[in-house]
């Protein structure tokens, strides 16, 4: 039999601990770092969002925990037997169906909604120290890459400079990609696929020796990991390009500082050195785009308030200036 992987060993350790508790006649429990808002901290040293020191327990003989405990054990068991032992990967949705069964003799399902199994998978990341990708669970892929980069994906050699208009369809799990040859000088990551297509048609990456990446709106884990790997392993500067609005600023914020929901995975996903290219309030003035400004709606305004209150934007004069320009457009954008 093939040697056990680290992921298999970690899940086995979790199972053995529960069996040990049962054999000792103890209440089986799993303890791990809490993932709720009260335990999310902005780490000043790394300048990323991280989990704090608070830990919690999930035990079987506790009415408030028993269902979650059962879900955790069931999902862990499915991941180990169906995925890790076979070497196959499955989507979050597939894992949901694999764990959605009725407990015999009852009418209770182990999970009713996908959000439950999704959350347990994130919990298992914290419990085992393994990433979702290491647990062989994928999500919808949503992103493309073109440029002067040759890589190996599942044994296939892919030259991202020869992939036509669509480019390389970035998989959900990018940990296992092997960078074979990278000639680019920087990476340009953009929110909008339409801009990606414009730049690709103009062969921008060829003329400027770079790699272009897009992921349609929010940045997926796979794309974040890919950008981080290009930054760390290939020493490439990464620039983010979004709309001039709070949603765009937030996209940059997540790539650079991490997110609350995935604070436990910051180490593998954040890029502290990433820079925001635009568009900025200054670009709007410089290139005379004032007549193309769009009014903010209620959601924009609410979001703007939240974003300007983020610790990492609060102590940053440049970002506060951008947000202020967005807020008082009439005065500031007037020459």
């Amino acid at each position: 039999m093939a040697k056990k992987t680290k992921s298999q060993e970690e899940l086995e350790r979790l199972g053995n601990k529960i069996v040990y508790d049962i054999e000792k006649g103890k209440n089986p429990e799993i303890s791990f770092q809490l993932r709720n808002l009260s335990n999310i901290v902005f780490d000043k040293k790394t300048r990323t969002l991280r989990l704090g020191d608070k830990t919690g327990n999930r035990s079987f003989f506790n009415v408030a925990h028993s269902k979650k405990f059962l879900q955790t054990v069931e999902v862990a068991s499915v991941l180990k037997k169906e995925l890790l032992e076979t070497g196959k990967h499955e989507h979050l949705r597939g894992v949901f169906y694999m764990t959605k069964r009725t407990i015999p003799g009852t009418n209770v399902n182990i999970v009713d909604e996908q959000v439950e199994s999704d959350k347990v998978i994130e919990d298992l990341e914290v419990i085992t120290g393994l990433s979702r990708e290491q647990l062989h669970v994928s999500a919808n892929k949503m992103g493309s890459m073109v440029g002067s980069i040759i890589l190996i994906d599942s044994g296939d050699l892919i030259d991202c400079s020869k992939l036509g208009r669509g480019g390389y369809s970035v998989p959900s799990i990018t940990d296992e990609l092997e960078f074979k040859k990278v000639n680019a000088k920087f990476v340009l990551y953009m929110e909008k696929a339409a801009i990606f297509e414009r730049l690709n048609e103009d062969k921008f990456w060829q003329k400027n020796n770079c790699v272009l990446v897009t992921s349609q709106g929010q940045t997926t884990r796979g794309i974040r990991r890919l950008l981080q790997r290009l930054s760390e392993e290939e020493n490439l500067p990464v620039y983010v390009m979004t709309d001039f609005d709070c949603w765009g600023f937030y996209i940059y914020s997540v790539v650079k500082y991490g997110s609350i929901a995935l604070a436990h995975a910051s180490e593998r996903l954040t890029i502290p050195g990433v820079k925001f290219l635009g568009i900025t309030a200054d670009d709007i003035l410089k290139y005379d785009l004032k007549k193309h400004l769009i009014k903010l709606n209620e959601q924009d305004l609410a979001r703007m308030k939240q974003v300007s209150d983020y610790e990492w934007f609060k102590d940053n004069k440049e970002w506060q200036r951008q947000l202020k320009m967005m807020k008082v457009q009439k005065q500031k954008f007037r020459h």
Partner: protein, 42 residues
């Protein structure tokens, strides 16, 4: 700054607005200038 922000006093803009300057303005002028001048925010 006033506590309540009126909608008509605030604004956002899309990257695509650059297309108003020409279809390839973004790839021929905007981006090369930004990158050459290292005009970034951190």
């Amino acid at each position: 700054m006033a506590e309540t922000i009126k909608n008509d006093e605030s604004a956002k803009a899309e990257i695509q607005a650059l297309s108003a300057k020409g279809i390839s303005f973004i790839s021929e002028k905007y981006l090369p200038e930004k990158i050459k001048n290292k005009d970034f925010l951190e």
